[in-house]
Symmetry: C2
Subunit: 156 residues, 2 copies
Amino acid sequence: MSKNMHPLDESLLPWIGKTTKALDHFITEMFASCGIQLTKAQFILLRVLAKHEGIKQNDLASFASREKTTLARLLTTMEKKNLVYRKGSDTDKRTNLVFISPQGKEELDKAIPALVESLQLIQSGITKKELSITLGVLQRIRKNINADEFSNPCKH
Amino acid sequence: MSKNMHPLDESLLPWIGKTTKALDHFITEMFASCGIQLTKAQFILLRVLAKHEGIKQNDLASFASREKTTLARLLTTMEKKNLVYRKGSDTDKRTNLVFISPQGKEELDKAIPALVESLQLIQSGITKKELSITLGVLQRIRKNINADEFSNPCKH
DNA sequence: AATAGTTGGTTGCATATACAACCATCCCCA
DNA sequence: TGGGGATGGTTGTATATGCAACCAACTATT
C-alpha cells in the first residue's frame, strides 16, 4: 500500500462518497424490485415522521437534517403521492403540521423489513468489532468537521 | 448500546450518508472560503481529467463513476466556467475529447493542497489502524452490494 | 454495399439538495 | 398598542444526479 498513491486517494474521502452512492443505488433498486414506491429520501422522512406525527415542517427538517426548502419540496412531492399530508395549525396560521398517511405507513411497513433484511447482505463478512470501529470513525469525522467549521487551510 | 435501538439505527446505513453529506458541505465551504471556484463534483472530475487529457466523454464518465448524461451536463457547466473544453475528434465525428483548461489546472492546483491540509482536521484523532479498518469495511460493503446486485429481500 | 447492431452524446423529465430572498404571521417589549 | 425582530414556509435559481428515449455516426456481417 501507499506506493506512489496520492494522499487524497489513500484517505477515506473518496470511498465514503462512493459507498454512499452505491448504497443509495442499491436501496433504490431494492425498493423498486420489492414494489416499494419510495426513494431513499422519502423513506428517511417517513421514518422520522412515524415517530413524530403532527410535527412542524421546520422541526421535521431539523430531525431529518435537511434544509427547510428541501423539506418543503420533498413534502410536496410526497403529498402528491399520498404518502403524507399537511394540516394547517389552528393556533398558528403560519405553521403546517405534517402527518404520515395510511398509505405512507403501508409503504414504510414494507420498506423497513426489506431494508433490515438487506443489512445481512450489505454488512456480510464484517465483524461487529469492525462495524463498531467504522461507526466510531464516521462519527468522529463528523465531530471534527462540525467543531472546526471555520478553519481555513488557505493562508491569505 | 443497543438498548431498544432499531437495527437500522444501529447499522452503518444512516451514518455513512450523514458523514458524506457533512463532508460535502465542509468541502464546498472550504473551497469557497479559499476562493476556489469548484464544487466537489467538479473537483473530482478535474482530478480525473488531469490524468487523462483528451479522454472521450463516455470514458470520463466511467472513470468518474457517473452516468454519461450527468457527465455531459457537468461538462457543459464546467465549460461555461472555462474549467474544461471539448474538442471534436478528427477520426470519429460522434466523439468529444475532453481537456482540462489552464484555468481548470489552476483551480485544481489550489484545491488539492487545500484538501490535503483539511485531511489533518477531518481525520484527526483517528488512528491509522482505525482508518484502515474503516476503509476495508467501506470497500467490503461496496463489494457485497455489487456482487449480489439482484438479490431481493421480498419473497413474491 | 446494405442492413443491423453498437457506440457516443444530447434532451426530456424527475428527484434531491441548498442558498438567498421573500411574505406572512407571531411575539415581545417599550 | 405598535413596531421590530423572530419564526414558518414558499419561490427563484442553481448544482448534481439518473433513467428513458432519441439521433448521429461508426462497425461488422452477410
